[in-house]
């Protein structure tokens, strides 16, 4: 099947899911078109609550999937993604620090989360370079270490946070969720996310090329270090700006690129747009489940972790596993 046809099918699926998510929820009572046009409370609910939340789901899914895909391609390692490399933990740490120090405003939260994300990336790169007899696993080891460092930092923040006021909000935020989405959060996150997504989208063919050896890249006129750092920088910006709002919604950057490659192949010209759609669908489904499954709300991070882990198990025991030698 041609890629265009696949996009179309997946896009139609996404639109159907968006419509379904817009009319589904704990507030009962969409029976008919008449009701939708007469019930003003329902209209307000859809426009003010559900639509911004759907938009946030799409941005979170698309953004985390793309940064996972970009990192996996640049590092030639289908396990490399912000979560595994410790960047998500670092973003969590930065954002929690922001909560602690500047509880009244959100801008330092985004900034601190980006700064510690970049710090984590640099640490991982340095450590994995220093590992003797380095191979593809060394990046993962470095990621585990950096992730643990920032988790410890996060632990300290939780420990010193005000247990009545700050701690619950930090913990709730860390579990990951979109329940506080509103138009203002959409406006806050969209510019950074959309700009990063567009930049990475436009570079999608060139990112493929970074998989070649440094000396070959040099012969092709690419200064690898400069370009790769720039691109990873955008991927980190995308991840951290999303995490600073949504909390630690895990597994998307790991699972979605692997699923996308099975459907669209390994060239980013088709798999990057594909990962936007599939990431969006994954988070939209997870978020809709999180708000309709029980009377309260299950944090989104728990649902994505559950679904992600299930997919992951099928992936690693299946054919073409990312753990096998030629993954």
């Amino acid at each position: 099947m041609k890629s265009e046809k696949k996009y179309l099918i997946i896009l139609i699926l996404l639109i159907i899911l968006v419509l379904f998510a817009a009319i589904t929820g704990r507030y009962q009572g969409i029976g008919s078109y008449v009701e939708l046009s007469e019930n003003q409370l329902l209209q307000r609910l859809i426009i003010q609550v559900r639509i911004p939340r759907i938009m946030m789901s799409i941005i979170v899914g698309a953004g985390l999937a793309i940064s996972g895909l970009v990192m996996q391609t640049v590092f030639q390692n289908s396990l490399a993604e912000p979560g595994v490399l410790g960047i998500s933990q670092a973003a969590g740490f930065g954002a929690a620090l922001g909560f602690l120090l500047f509880p009244w405003t959100r801008i330092p939260i985004q900034f601190l989360s980006f700064a510690s994300g970049i710090l984590a990336l640099l640490l991982v790169l340095k450590i994995s370079e220093k590992i003797k007899g380095a191979d593809r696993v060394s990046l993962i080891f470095a990621g585990i270490a950096v992730s643990a460092l920032f988790s410890a930092g996060l632990g300290i923040i939780k420990y010193v946070a005000d247990p009545l006021d700050q701690l619950p909000s930090i913990v709730f935020w860390l579990l990951g969720g979109l329940s506080t989405s509103s138009w203002s959060s959409v406006l806050q996150i969209t510019p950074i996310a959309v700009v990063s997504i567009i930049v990475l989208y436009l570079l999608r063919w060139r990112i493929n090329v970074y998989a070649l050896n440094d000396s070959v890249l040099y012969s092709l006129g690419i200064r690898r270090k400069v370009e790769v750092y720039l691109i990873l920088g955008f991927a980190v910006l995308l991840t951290t700006s999303i995490i600073s709002f949504s909390g630690l919604v895990g597994w998307i950057g790991l699972i979605i690129p692997n699923i996308t490659r099975i459907i669209f192949g390994y060239d980013l010209r088709s798999s990057l747009p594909g990962s936007i759609l599939i990431g969006a669908i994954f988070v939209l489904v997870s978020d809709t489940l999180s708000r309709i499954l029980i009377a309260g709300e299950i944090p989104l991070g728990i649902i994505t972790a559950f679904l992600g882990a299930m997919f992951f198990i099928f992936l690693i025991i299946g054919k073409g596993s990312p753990l096998s030698k030629n993954g």
Binding site: L212, N213, L220, I222, N326
Partner: protein, 260 residues
């Protein structure tokens, strides 16, 4: 017609981390449309010399010049680029051969642009030329070593640079693939390319190279016409064992080590 395509002028190089070799006062002139072999033992610094010619490693002394532009340094755009095939390459195993070949067009494609029809046509054209067009829709990891080597050569052609550097292109192939790779290098020459390749097999140099550069056991470098440089004396100095050159009826040169 320019006299030289690439010159190394009093080039010296030494590893800072105490690797056990260094070069001094290397002078090499590469004429257009010639084949040059770089011959030396394993670890003698053949690859280092090739990377200096590419410009990827900076010499600690002297200059590397590219002509006709006479640029000293980073060659980035279009025909000015130097095509390079490392000995082994981390080619992503699951991408398709056609997508891999398109990567050779990178010097012509600005960062935010995708390859276009013209790039596809060139890939198709060169794939037919080196007979890998039937492999275009296979994954890189699914083709044989000999086929991969042809595909990589094809990538160098797609890059359309005059100068092609090959690091041990023949060494690890079976006899059959070895022979067709030597033919291929001659074929590249007939297309007007200038080729420099490294090897540790003097036969390859004698068979196809116009010029040769031989690195002796004590890092002395000899450069000149193949018949002047690949001599029994130089080979003995290079490999540190007595070596004889002989020719059989079909004209192929072969090297026999003297058993004492």
């Amino acid at each position: 017609m320019v006299d030289f395509l690439l010159t190394l002028d009093k080039v010296s190089y030494s590893y800072t981390n105490g690797r056990d070799f260094s070069f001094e006062d290397v002078n090499v002139n590469i004429s257009p449309n010639t084949i040059t072999s770089i011959l030396g033992r394993n670890g003698a610094g053949k690859t280092t010399l090739l990377l200096i010619m590419l410009g990827f490693l900076k010499p600690t002394g002297g200059t590397v010049n590219y002509f006709p532009d006479g640029i000293n340094g980073f060659l980035s755009r279009g025909n000015n680029s130097v095509a390079f095939l490392p000995q082994s390459e981390s080619a992503p195993e699951k991408i398709l051969v056609v997508d891999y070949l398109l990567m050779g067009r990178t010097p012509y494609i600005a960062p935010f642009i995708l390859p276009g029809n013209k790039d596809f046509e060139l890939v198709q054209k060169y794939a037919e030329l080196v007979e890998v067009d039937h492999l275009l829709h296979y994954q890189i990891g699914k083709i044989s070593g000999g086929e991969l080597q042809r595909v990589r050569i094809c990538r160098a052609l797609v890059q359309e640079s005059d100068l092609i550097l090959l690091d041990e292109p023949i060494s690890h192939l079976d006899l059959n693939a070895k022979f067709s790779m030597m033919e291929m290098i001659k074929h590249l020459q007939s297309l007007g390319k200038t080729i420099i390749f490294t090897t540790h097999d003097p036969v390859e140099a004698l068979d196809i190279a116009d010029h040769a550069l031989i690195i002796s056991n004590d890092q002395q470098i000899n450069f000149g016409l193949t018949q002047d440089v690949i001599t029994e004396k130089n080979l003995t100095a290079c490999f540190n064992i007595p070596i004889k050159i002989s020719r059989n009826k079909s004209g192929f040169a072969c090297v026999v080590e003297k058993i004492v």
